[in-house]
């Protein structure tokens, strides 16, 4: 068994009626790396994350996460994984502390209060602990959601557009924190974003999805080089235009 492989995907396929959202995708994500899942809206990024979390059942293909088969050992995997998305929220009428307490208990965290306060300090929002989530700014809310995503000290973290709707200063702070967490804890990150400069800054390797297939794969430098372009943004635009053509 390859102990350095955190995600191993072979021939992953998901169809919704006449649309094939993910089409025979192969992925190999290594321990401790930041892996970018990129593509236009509708390219299959979110569906791929849902498939990797077992929220959606694939039509074909094998998925192994942390060396375990997802189909048969999903709960065991989910206890060691976490997830944050710009499109998913914690209940707005509970305080940050209450929400994080609930999730700490769901993930079986020992000494939840201590863990929560550590994370709030790490993300520089300790003063939000007793404020309801519905009253936070989008920057504070994103960081509170990241606290939830880190509550179980995950080995693998899925981040679906973690800096969407943040101002550049807060987005930079979030990126710094993610880098720090990765460095200190060796957590593997699967990252989606439409901000290609951010992707070049954060990701060790990327895959560009187009119509559910891997259209380009490698380190950002390799992908740029293969496409003969100066930036990932140009590669993104090329692939998007090819998709339309």
């Amino acid at each position: 068994m390859d102990t350095d492989q955190v995600i191993g995907v072979k021939g992953l396929t998901k169809r919704f009626a006449a649309v094939t959202a993910v089409d025979g995708l192969d992925l190999d994500v290594r321990r401790g790396e930041v892996f970018g899942l990129l593509g236009q809206n509708g390219a299959g990024k979110t569906t791929t994350i849902q498939l990797l979390l077992g929220l959606t059942v694939p039509d074909a293909g094998d998925v192994a996460v942390l060396g375990l088969p997802l189909a048969s050992r999903r709960r065991e995997i989910l206890a060691r994984v976490n997830f944050s998305s710009a499109y998913v929220a914690m209940p707005s009428n509970l305080t940050v502390l209450e929400n994080l307490t609930v999730f700490a208990l769901l993930y079986g965290v020992r000494r939840p209060r201590k863990r929560i306060m550590e994370l709030l300090e790490l993300l520089e929002i300790p003063d939000t602990a007793r404020r309801v989530c519905g009253g936070l700014s989008s920057g504070q809310l994103t960081r509170a959601n990241l606290c939830k995503a880190l509550i179980n000290d995950p080995e693998l973290l899925f981040l679906d557009e973690p800096t969407a709707s943040l101002d550049p200063a807060i987005a930079a702070k979030v990126r710094r924190t993610l880098k720090q967490i990765r460095q200190e804890r060796g957590v593997t990150l699967v990252y989606t974003s439409h901000n290609m400069r951010e992707v070049e800054e954060m990701c060790d390797r990327v895959v560009f999805l187009r119509q559910g297939r891997a259209a380009a794969q490698g380190s950002p430098a390799q992908v740029r080089q293969q496409a003969g372009r100066a930036s990932l943004e140009e590669v993104f635009i090329d692939l998007a235009e090819q998709g339309r053509g």
Binding site: K14, F16, A21, T46, T47, Q50, L53, G54, L55, T56, V57, R75, E76, L78, A79, V81, N82, F83, S85, Y87, V88, A89, M90, P91, S92, N93, L94, T95, E98, T101, V102, F103, L105, L106, Y107, G108, V132, K148
Partner: protein, 261 residues
């Protein structure tokens, strides 16, 4: 397992702690309903005799118990859709049975609070003592609570299956049951062709038992046993249907899509 059930239960404790509106909701509708039916019963009591008051008020209190139990279970999952938290829950190592147990626990507490407060109100305002139902009252409470859970599971399943467009069913489904289950009148008032349908519902035996208990101080054992057996069947059916719909939304990839509707 129990730690996760407690966590999900705690989430609703926090919700009620933070939301005066949600907490008042436990009392407001039952109280309004009781007052309305209390005055109607009083008037009917003048026309038809005092027994009418006890049957109607007993029916109102017990019906609300069933209604609130179903409500609490179905609303618990709908709340997660409203808050866009459903994906967070299903991406955590939580079993569906843990979600169901927590929802049933919330239903138990809400129904208990509602029944106790209703009992005080009907006694203070209309002189109706719910304890006049005798020892069978405990059995009625449990039967209606469990049937409420079963209907709640079925409603939750429909919400998963059809998305948030089906939310109206939370309030609508109990009113499909109400005319059939002989809350305010005996089963033999129903047309002959409808009576077998009424007798398929465990709650029908509870309301028939309630009238017997109010008339004679105790409910016939066979009614209580039929209610228990019916509840067993409905609870299993509700659980199986809920599990089936959960699997179906995973196959259809509908969970996240519904959460974002």
């Amino acid at each position: 397992m129990w730690l996760r059930v407690w966590a999900l239960f705690l989430r609703y404790v926090y919700l009620h702690k933070r939301s005066v509106v949600r907490t008042m909701e436990i009392f407001f509708w039952p109280v309004m309903n009781l007052l309305l039916w209390g005055f109607v019963s009083k008037y009917l009591g003048r026309l038809a005799g005092p027994g009418t008051v006890t049957y109607l008020l007993g029916g109102v209190v017990l019906w609300d118990l069933l209604y609130r139990s179903q409500h609490a279970v179905s609303l618990s999952i709908t709340e997660e859709f409203w808050e866009r938290n459903i994906v967070n829950l299903f991406a955590a190592p939580v079993r569906p049975v843990e979600i169901v147990l927590a929802a049933c626990g919330v239903g138990f507490v809400r129904a208990l609070v509602m029944t106790v407060s209703s009992a005080f109100i009907v006694y203070a305002a209309f002189g109706f003592n719910i304890l006049a139902m005798g020892p069978s009252l405990g059995w009625f409470y449990l039967s209606l609570l469990v049937f409420g859970w079963a209907v709640g599971l079925f409603t939750m399943g429909l919400i998963f299956l059809f998305g948030r467009a089906a939310e109206g069913l939370i309030w609508g489904i109990p009113f499909l049951i109400q005319p059939l289950t002989a809350v305010f009148y005996p089963v033999d008032v129903l047309p002959a062709w409808l009576q077998p349908v009424a007798l398929c519902l465990p709650s029908t035996y509870v309301f028939e038992g309630m009238r017997a208990a109010l008339a004679h101080g105790t409910a016939p054992l066979d009614l209580l046993l039929r209610a228990a057996a019916g509840n067993g069947v409905f609870l299993v059916l509700g659980g199986v249907f809920f599990a089936w719909t959960l699997e179906r939304v995973r196959v259809k990839g509908a969970l996240a899509r519904q959460a974002m509707e």
